[in-house]
């Protein structure tokens, strides 16, 4: 065969070899077919570990209990016992080391997440006591009258 056929062919073969060699160095060793096969498992295995290393910010009631056992226990009996401490107090992170104090959300906005009266006849919301946020002491913070840890006003009077 004539050289004008061979020359471009050599260039093409050289390019393929170059790309295949480059691929060996660029593609990480743990890249391949995972447990779910070619269609769903084609990935870099090390990434699973990366996701597992994400830091946990919400530590749950069990973590709060380690130091505030009494509080967790008594609040657990109140109508707000179902709420996680961190829902209002914010994520624990590494408290008490970092941050030393948590930022508590005192806002009306937080309380009316559940207690704004809506007409939802086919959901659990209709069973929760609610107010109209626009007419029920609109300027006041809820905690002026209601104790968020013992929210029932009648019960609160008994406590005093």
């Amino acid at each position: 065969m004539k050289s004008h056929v061979w020359r471009p062919l050599f260039v093409a073969i050289g390019l393929v070899v170059l790309i295949l060699t480059a691929r060996v160095f660029i593609v990480p060793a743990d890249f391949g077919i995972g447990e779910r096969g070619y269609m769903y498992g084609w990935h870099r295995q090390g990434n699973e570990e990366e996701w597992k290393r994400v830091t946990v910010k919400y530590k749950t009631r069990a973590y709060c209990k380690e130091c505030h056992a009494e509080k967790v226990e008594s609040i657990g009996r109140s109508p707000h016992g179902a709420l996680q401490c961190e829902n209002c107090h914010g994520p624990a992170l590494d408290h008490p080391k970092d941050p030393p104090t948590l930022t508590i959300d005192h806002s009306r906005q937080l309380c009316i997440r559940c207690h704004a009266k809506l007409h939802t006849p086919s959901s659990g919301r209709s069973k929760i006591r609610g107010i109209d946020p626009e007419t029920h002491n609109p300027e006041a913070e809820c905690s002026l009258c209601h104790d968020p840890h013992h929210p029932n006003l009648e019960e609160l009077k008994r406590h005093e």
């Binding site: 990935h43 870099r44 179902a82």
Partner: protein, 257 residues
């Protein structure tokens, strides 16, 4: 070659061709075990219990470092208001990060609609999150192998590998994927993979005061979540797509999409 010899040999050839290629493949025990793993995460959402407080969305965004003020979220809560005249209104203001605090229903473009209580036939809340499909269409369309399904059934995104082409965002029929504005890659709910692999529950499950969200292992017949899926009446979203979603719903209604 005589006739006898010819017939003999041709029989051997025919018999040899009849053996399928699969019969010659060596069976890898690791592959066999992977086909039936001991762990498969599944999720239960009880729409009756959901009150639309949005604590799940708040917890999810903070736990998974999804920019809090940006209107994006790995999970969200939808409000369905079905009127007596048949009209269905659906909204999820800011993914319900701050809950549902007003009777006004968001209809887009910063506009709201007010529906009088007497007009409402039924109204309820439906939390949404990634379905961690058994046949995830978002994984199939990824051109670089950046998104994948793990052995325990969770679909993850490799942030180092994702090129941000957005095919998966278009491919998900449930619209759970979005573009992460900080990392510039596709982002999605992964059942809080860092928590569930440590023996904890997903942040939204822990944050829900009403038990509307639960997570469990489908392979464990004594798992309370598995028991509900096996013994109670549960529904899934968009079954017709064949994605085999693994988030099961109690109290679905035909209006829910």
């Amino acid at each position: 070659m005589n006739r006898r010899e010819f017939l003999k040999r041709s029989m051997v050839v025919v018999a040899g061709m009849a053996v399928p290629a699969a019969a010659l493949q060596l069976i890898d025990p690791k592959q066999l075990l992977a086909a039936k793993p001991q762990l498969r995460w599944a999720f239960i959402v009880d729409a009756y219990k959901c009150v639309g407080c949005g604590f799940c969305v708040k917890a999810c965004k903070l736990e998974n470092e999804v920019p809090y003020e940006a209107n994006i979220s790995r999970t969200w809560v939808e409000r369905y208001v079905v009127k007596k005249d048949g009209e269905v209104l659906i909204d999820s203001p800011r993914a319900a990060r701050d809950g549902f605090t007003t009777k006004k229903i968001e209809v887009g473009d910063g506009k709201y609609r007010e529906v009088r209580d007497e007009e409402i036939e039924k109204a309820f809340f439906v939390p949404k999150l990634c379905n961690q499909c058994e046949n995830p269409p978002c994984v199939q369309v990824c051109p670089v192998g950046a998104t994948y399904s793990t052995a325990d059934g969770v679909v993850l995104v490799d942030r180092k590998w994702c090129i941000g082409c957005g095919y998966c965002i278009m491919g998900c029929p449930y619209g759970v994927r979005f573009f992460h504005p900080v990392h510039k890659v596709a982002e999605k709910c992964n059942f809080c993979y860092h928590r569930i692999t440590k023996g904890m529950k997903s942040a939204c499950v822990d944050a829900c005061p009403f038990g509307a969200r639960q997570i469990g292992n489908l392979r464990d017949p004594n798992d309370p979540v598995t028991r509900i899926i096996m013994t109670e009446r549960v529904g899934i979203l968009k079954e017709e797509y064949g994605t085999k979603p693994q988030v099961y719903y109690i109290g679905l209604s035909k209006e829910v999409r």
